[in-house]
């Protein structure tokens, strides 16, 4: 089937190139049939990409080791879920996933808008197919997933143990969905600028795609943070790693875009700004993809060095120059229809919120690329660490949360003193009460954290007040019961109240970040069995070592697990036992490694012990000292080396298992002191809960309005408008 997969990719490239030509020619000549043919080329691209992806996915699930990419990233013993998801652990498979998602979203948006934006759509089609052609070209010429091995190995290399985590395996598709969905508004913005149709129509047509992109990218970023917290063994969820930052940058600018398009829709303002934001988001998505794949910056999340850097740089350069040229050449058309009426208005707050988001993105961009900038200027690489990022991002994030509470309160056009008094009184009172209560509880020792808690309380006050007032207004208009009124209010104004829920979730998330980073207790300690240590209000005693061989029926021995049983007390009250471990996976590179030693020369993965709660998390990780086992390992390697060739494979496997059993028994009975990281952080669960609230709000915004597409006007102009609106109101 590899040939069919390769043929599908070649056809995909061909049809994408045809579609670009047809769309551009059709648009120039006014030939609707040729434009339609170009649009259908996007459908064909989706079909071919899906075929190629299904073939590759099937090869992974069948463990078809004749595919080089399967042999390099999976094995017959890899669990089925990870076989299915190992596709995108490889450079080739993840590029194919990118192409597949891009082509599917492109086909969907072009189908949905097939009767709309007929002047803009052909150019958008050409842009989307251009991106598709780029990725298809990479898959054909540089990173083919359909290369086959002349002599397939008996067993594959298996999936990197670090990636054997559900959150890590769902993280890439979420990120790629976000990146590829942002290509949709990017492409339509380019089309709108080319034909100088810069009203809000292209925004309305693609807004849901921008929202979905924002949602998926956000979920991807959060899944990465969760993986970091639960799997990487350092106890944090965000390290300002270049690849983490690469996904955060387009999300930040995309967030700014989602806010500022409301100003264009309502007031016909900020057209240059909106076009610039979405073009920048599109470029940043490609930049993020480039960072992960080029190997130019060091990151635990990145693929190794590759030859993809050059083509990506060319594409990013072309997109950047093209975007700048388009905006500059259309600056007259992009002129605002209105000016800001007052500095204190909803519009100004939106603009300020945008500036903060762009400033945050700039800080992240500078910090991420500083090693390259420093190398270019001084000849030496120098990285900027978390303290540098925190110095700028913490105050900006604080301002952002505060603005997310102010924005919904303030009036459009101009705020008056009466309006401000009426709108701000309750949220401000909630914030002041929270400040007093928190200061009394001793939170004043960390001023920035206290500021974030107060800002969070202000946002919560805002959201509940707005929901209350909206429900009241609806009840006044319809006479509905309160529960019905609140449900229908949200249902009929999903964008507004979904957005408010997003603000509330972000406030909860940032309160969790502030609390967990400001009031964390952490200690790194070396303990022998029987010894104990304190962390925060917890006492942790290393009761006994644990050691076992982990095997599956199909694969036999998979890895060696060494760990520690720890008994935990909180303020003197026994909480039970927790067991952090470390898994030692055998190296697949057998050159120079002994039969025993290879188990300790491959990847080792920390399995933390976590006691999570709404108030506080206790997080424990262990680093066993395997130095004491080295003489035994060396001795075992020598014995197996001597016996090599003289033993039957079955006897050798039994002897190896017995030797390893002896090794782990020895560790369990004579364990040397182990290194522990003990960490207790308050309110870390609020981060994940806040994220869930954000995504729930995002889903509410995304959900289509009821039967909007089916409503049809029948007759009578002005009377008709009133009647239509009246009918809608009566029904709502």
């Amino acid at each position: 089937m590899a040939e069919v997969g390769r043929a599908a990719l070649i056809l995909a490239l061909g049809v994408a190139v045809y579609g670009i030509g047809a769309s551009l020619y059709g648009a120039r000549s006014g030939r609707a049939d040729i434009v339609a043919s170009g649009r259908r080329a996007a459908y064909a691209l989706a079909l071919l990409s899906v075929v190629a992806f299904v073939i590759l996915e099937a090869a992974f699930l069948r463990s078809d080791l004749s595919f080089a990419v399967v042999a390099g990233h999976s094995s017959t013993t890899t669990p089925t879920f990870y076989q299915a998801t190992a596709v995108w652990s490889s450079q080739e498979g993840s590029l194919l996933l990118w192409l597949t998602l891009l082509s599917l979203w492109s086909a969907l948006v072009l189908f949905l808008t097939r009767r709309q934006l007929r002047d803009v759509a052909p150019y958008a089609t050409a842009v989307l197919l251009g991106l598709g052609a780029f990725f298809a070209g990479l898959l054909i010429f540089l990173e083919s997933p359909f290369d086959v091995l002349a002599s397939p190995p008996v067993e594959g290399a298996g999936l990197n143990p670090l990636l054997r985590s559900p959150s890590m395996m769902t993280h890439p598709p979420m990120l790629y969905s976000g990146y590829t969905l942002f290509a949709i508004p990017f492409a339509f913005a380019v089309g709108a600028l080319i034909v100088r149709r810069v009203d809000a129509e292209w925004i309305r047509a693609t807004r849901r795609f921008a929202l979905a992109a924002w949602l998926f990218l956000g979920i991807g970023v959060l899944l990465g943070a969760r993986w970091s917290y639960a799997e990487l063994g350092w106890g944090g969820y965000w390290a300002w790693d270049p690849v983490e930052n690469a996904s955060l940058m387009p999300w930040l600018i995309g967030t700014a875009f989602i806010h500022s398009i409301m100003i264009q829709e309502k007031r016909g303002m900020l057209k240059v700004w909106n076009a610039s934001l979405i073009l920048a988001t599109g470029v940043l998505c490609l930049l993020g993809t480039f960072l992960v794949r080029s190997g130019i910056l060091d990151s635990i999340h990145a693929f190794g060095a590759s030859t993809l850097g050059g083509p990506f740089l060319v594409l990013i350069g072309a997109m950047t120059l093209g975007s700048v040229a388009l905006v500059v050449s259309r600056r007259d058309t992009l002129r605002s229809e209105h000016r800001l009426d007052a500095l204190l208005s909803r519009e100004s707050i939106f603009l300020l919120n945008n500036l903060v988001l762009v400033a945050l993105c700039f800080v992240v961009f500078w910090g991420t690329f500083f090693p390259l900038i420093a190398e270019a200027v001084t000849g030496q690489r120098a990285a900027l660490g978390p303290p540098w990022f925190d110095r700028y991002t913490v105050p900006l994030a604080l301002l952002l949360v505060l603005l997310s509470g102010v924005g919904p309160l303030i009036a459009w056009r101009r705020a008056t003193a009466a309006n401000a008094r009426r709108s701000f009184a309750i949220p401000a009172a909630v914030a002041v009460l929270a400040a007093v209560a928190l200061a009394a509880a001793g939170a004043g020792s960390a001023l920035l954290a206290l500021g974030m808690f107060v800002a969070g309380a202000f946002v919560a006050g805002t959201v509940f007040q707005e929901l209350w007032r909206g429900t009241g207004a609806r009840r006044a208009m319809t006479g509905e019961a309160p529960h019905l009124a609140v449900v229908r209010l949200i249902g009929r104004n999903r964008r507004r109240y979904g957005g408010y829920l997003v603000h509330l979730g972000m406030a909860v998330l940032f309160v969790g970040v502030a609390a967990s980073s400001s009031f964390q207790d952490a200690t790194d300690v070396r303990l022998a069995p029987g010894e104990q240590a304190e962390v925060g209000e917890y006492t942790v005693r290393y009761t006994e070592p644990t050691a076992r061989l982990v095997a599956t029926r199909e694969a036999g021995l998979e890895f060696i697990e060494l760990g520690a049983r720890l008994d935990v007390w909180r303020d003197g009250e026994a909480l039970g036992a927790m067991t952090p471990t470390r898994g030692y996976y055998p190296s697949q590179d057998l050159a120079g490694l002994g039969a025993i030693g290879r188990f300790f020369e491959g990847e080792s993965v920390s399995e933390i012990a976590l006691d999570a709660g709404a108030g506080r998390d206790l997080w424990l990780a262990v680093q066993p000292d395997i130095g004491a086992l080295e003489p035994v390992i060396r001795e075992g390697d020598a014995v197996f080396a001597q016996a090599a060739g003289g033993l039957s494979p079955q006897f050798e496997a039994v002897a190896l298992a017995q030797t390893l059993r002896g090794l782990v028994d020895r560790y369990a009975s004579e364990a040397p002191p182990a290194q522990f990281r003990l960490l207790t952080s308050p309110m870390i669960t609020w981060i994940w809960v806040g994220a869930l609230v954000v995504f729930a709000g995002g889903l509410i915004c995304l959900w289509p309005a009821p039967d909007a597409a089916r409503r049809r006007a029948t007759a009578g102009l002005a009377v008709r408008v009133a009647r239509d609106l009246g009918r809608v109101r009566a029904r709502t």
């Binding site: 709309q116 829709e265 104004n493 049809r712």
Partner: protein
């Protein structure tokens, strides 16, 4: 390359060709119909968006985010724009 592989590739090629060429085989009547439907869809979308703006402004006014004077001005303008869209929809008539 075996026969099954060859057949699979030819089937893919055929499906793609059929998909892409179909609009080119449609007659001019179909193209006119499509053009009319496109213009109508644009106006219907604009109408729904305008109605949404009017309702949104009403909620803003009811919750104190638009003063009486501003709301009246905004509402008047939005309704005038909605009237214009309806006029253009009526002018479209039937294909």
């Amino acid at each position: 390359m075996d026969v099954v592989t060859l057949v699979a590739i030819m089937a893919l090629l055929g499906a793609v060709a059929w998909l892409v060429v179909a609009p080119l085989r449609a007659g001019s009547a179909a193209r006119d119909e499509e053009r009319y439907e496109g213009a109508r869809a644009d106006l219907e979308a604009a109408k729904e968006a305008k109605y949404a703006e009017i309702r949104d402004a009403e909620l803003d006014h009811a919750t104190g985010k638009l003063s009486d004077a501003d709301w009246r001005a905004v509402d008047r303008q939005l309704r005038a724009e909605a009237v214009e869209i309806l006029q253009r929809l009526d002018e479209l008539g039937v294909p």
